[in-house]
Symmetry: C2
Subunit: 330 residues, 2 copies
């Protein structure tokens, strides 16, 4: 019997299509075998081609043999050179396209997927995220910073060289405002953080947990929107990613490597997006939000029903997907 | 200079990427020429194969030579045979998958696109929508009915034979609840309908209007989420599609045919979704909502930033897209 489940954090309903559900291994991606290419002369992100990405913002280590570089996005829709204007004409509200858009080149190697990188390389990447995240918020005109990654064509990227992106916008996007509202309402009702409560529930129930350590839990949410939709939650209550400690970064790197490796080998390198959702360091109510990472493998395509209703039909069963990923040894 | 625009109905912000924007004709779809096939022996929706879609709910005309048929969706995620259960265990809210899911076969011809059909055939389809919409709401367990269409592979359909779908769910999806909230707040503040006000603004400004007649206006919204995102608004305030008159149906058919034909010839048969957003006939506050049709050509793919923030980057300029479509003669 199929079931509709409510995601209490996003207020989205999902139809878990039990009768139509596929087995976890039926979501395996049919990808052609990739020949590893360490260097591509034509790639703007490969070492030696640094002049194609001017205005470098960060390099680690700070030598010719870098492993991570951060550069401004050449094709950004937002710009620091834009005047800051808010316009309100009747029902038309607009803001000039002021903002920051950076590209984080995650490796010196051309097609070395994040899942295959060393723990120390992934830790360095997370440190880089933290540094640039804090730096962007130093600009008082930036209301919100989104860190995300598109991996694979179905996830919206055509560039093979592994990279992620950081965008600072002059407004707070609706997805964050909605989560803040839900968190605030729950805190007012119960005096607790909604995400802390969600995590406690998941840990008590165990059936959707993929990987659990001292500081973090990786799990499939009860109302996963789509097959293998996964959350990584820090156990310590913290509204803002900027508060992460060095120890926590090391452990988060292990979670990220574990889940991405499990997806890579279990589903044969599927396209995925990840996003780090966090409040601002300037948050006035840090008790009402809890930062986390959401990973969305792109194994299904939203169609008219999803676009039209905001309800999703998930043809996988969260508990089965979690068991499948738990059993994949990486 | 790029600009962020707020959709006051959905509260979503869109980056109109002026500098990166493509010309309207650059969104032309590269589709291979289709050979018209009137009948396909293997298609379950073609006349003569009616036994593959049992439980017919409506046939028009009621003869062997039908033009529209409505049948239950064989692969529905929701079922009338399901018991109605609401479960609340701590943070886990779920509802059993009770619901209705119907397929509307829009033509007796195998690949006769909706855009190519006669006005009377499209009027018959809209009458069929109205009849089934009202019938679904007769079930008190149905909280909301969504009418939608997926056209083309990028819009999530693999079946060529033109068809649309109607889903009745035991809960009201979040996209409708959010629009109701926005409508209610605006009504409380101003005593006016937010959609009536939006339409009045668009008609005063004219730059985004595509087609305007006595009862309906087809236009690109100020904060269009994606290239060629189009709305058809009835001019008469009405919360519920069930209230549409026969005269209005005839005119709505003309709008639907006009916009779909303009997209078909201007952009070379792009994939698209459409959805009819309407309140229930049981609406308690009909002054706070206004039904409409939203058409979303699938010309871009949401990636990590869109998924992660709910903000969209639109690489087309709404005013240019509207001018382009106005100038296409159909």
């Amino acid at each position: 019997m199929s079931e509709l489940r409510l995601n209490v954090i996003t207020r989205e309903w999902v139809v878990i299509a039990t009768e139509r559900a596929l087995r976890p291994d039926q979501f395996k991606h049919e990808s052609s075998a990739q020949v590893p290419i360490i260097f591509d002369q034509a790639c703007p992100f490969c070492p030696g081609n640094e002049e194609h990405t001017p205005g470098e913002l960060l390099r680690f280590p700070a030598s010719r043999d870098w492993q991570v570089r951060v550069v401004p996005n050449k094709f950004s829709a937002l710009s620091k050179q834009t005047e800051q204007n808010h316009n309100h004409e009747g029902l038309h509200h607009s803001v000039s396209g002021y903002g920051l858009h950076e590209v984080v080149i995650e490796s010196e190697m051309h097609n070395h997927f994040l899942a295959e990188q060393s723990l120390s390389a992934i830790s360095n990447l997370l440190q880089t995220f933290k540094t640039r995240f804090i730096a962007m918020y130093e600009d008082p005109a930036i209301a919100h910073v989104t860190i995300f990654k598109n991996h694979g064509e179905d996830a919206g990227t055509s560039l093979i060289h592994p990279h992620s992106q950081i965008i600072g916008t002059p407004i707070t996007p609706i997805q964050i405002r909605d989560r803040l509202d839900a968190g605030k309402r729950y805190f007012e009702d119960t005096g607790k953080c909604l995400m802390c409560a969600t995590l406690a529930d998941e840990l008590a129930e165990q059936s959707r947990i993929i990987f659990d350590t001292t500081h973090f839990t990786t799990f499939i949410p009860f109302a996963a929107l789509s097959p293998f939709h996964t959350w990584i939650f820090p156990k310590r209550h913290s509204a803002c990613f900027a508060d992460i400690s060095d120890d926590e970064i090391t452990e988060l790197a292990l979670h990220l490597k574990t889940i991405l490796s499990k997806l890579y080998s279990g589903l044969n390198n599927p396209s995925y997006n990840f996003v780090l959702r966090s409040e601002s360091p300037r948050a006035s109510e840090p008790e009402c939000f809890h930062w986390y990472i959401s990973i969305v493998p792109r194994l299904s395509r939203p169609a008219g029903f999803e676009l039209g209703s905001g309800m999703y039909i998930n043809t996988s069963i969260p508990e089965d997907s979690a068991a499948f990923l738990r059993n994949i040894i990486v």
